[in-house]
């Protein structure tokens, strides 16, 4: 068995409230991250057009969506460590043998846009501080969930350092620019350090 049928069989074999929460939670996170990306892009283009009102308006919406992301992160990881190990890690490892619970690829586009928007706002310190504040809450919540569920397991960053991960951009975005102490380094590129 291969392809979608295999993944369907995994979902059925490990069907549980924990796995349902994990999948539905992630689908929501992917879409909310997409909307964060959209807001950041609107802020960047509005700033380039000199539309300060639209930038201010969008900062409010960005705050609302990132708060929802924080809730979604909590929601997605809302299970016991035992359920996480038996009902989530087991099928996820079968879906991908390198699963660690700290997969970042799906957030990488949002993080790249965060970086681009932040650089585009150079000179607008109030707006930059605002973005830093609202996104730090979201990322910190993600870190907190990851730390709780994957404590002691091989970390995302350890894999990145070993160079044995297939898609590096998301991991490196997190490691080099945003995590775990991303807030202090959000406006620094690797070549700056």
């Amino acid at each position: 068995m291969e392809g979608p049928a295999y993944y369907d069989s995994l979902r059925q074999r490990y069907a549980s409230p924990a796995l349902e929460t994990w999948i539905v939670g992630h689908q929501g996170l992917f879409v909310l991250c997409r909307e964060v990306h959209r807001s950041l892009l609107i802020i960047k283009t509005a700033n380039e057009a000199g539309d300060a009102g639209r930038v201010a308006q969008q900062l409010g919406r960005l705050a609302a969506i990132t708060r929802a992301c924080s809730v979604a992160f909590k929601f997605t990881g809302n299970m016991t460590k035992r359920d996480y190990k038996r009902k989530v890690v087991a099928p996820m490892v079968k879906a991908h043998p390198k699963f660690t619970g700290m997969w970042a690829r799906d957030h990488s586009a949002m993080l790249q846009q965060l970086h681009e928007t932040f650089r585009a706002l150079k000179g607008y310190e109030s707006e930059r501080a605002n973005i830093k504040l609202v996104t730090s809450v979201m990322v910190k919540q993600h870190e907190r969930i990851c730390e709780r569920l994957t404590h002691g397991r091989p970390s995302l960053n350890a894999q990145a350092r070993r160079g044995d991960i297939p898609q590096e951009d998301g991991y490196l975005q997190l490691r080099n620019r945003y995590g775990p102490r991303h807030v202090r380094f959000i406006d620094r590129r690797p070549e700056d350090s």
Binding site: G3, E20, Q27, F30, V31, R34, A95
Partner: protein, 135 residues
Amino acid sequence: MNLRHLAIPSVVASAPKLELSENQKRELLRVARMPHGNLAAAVDAVKNALGIEAFDVPGEEAPSATSRLDTSDLYDWFFLVERVEIDSDLCGVRAVLHVLSGYADLIAKKSNVTDVEEAVLVEALQAILENYGGQ
């Protein structure tokens, strides 16, 4: 709007690449801004405002071996999501409604989501629709 890599549920990814009319946008915003008792009520109200025809579109089937899922990322199949590069109002709004509807179902089964957290999700629905509404 081109949003690379970010995934959306496969059941909505193949929705027609249609933009909402100005009337539809205004109506969605009006409904989203009304007070709602909970997330489920807010999502249902917006779905009703969008109209049943917006959900009666091809592509609701489960993914097949020939679907447009990104086979280079095995997790896409596991999570039942697709990566779309061409965005549209209808596709985006349906994705938001789909996932928040899923959240509302889970919230109904559990008591570990606070009222404030649920209100945050409703607020996000409003904020997202304001972006699609262009206001």
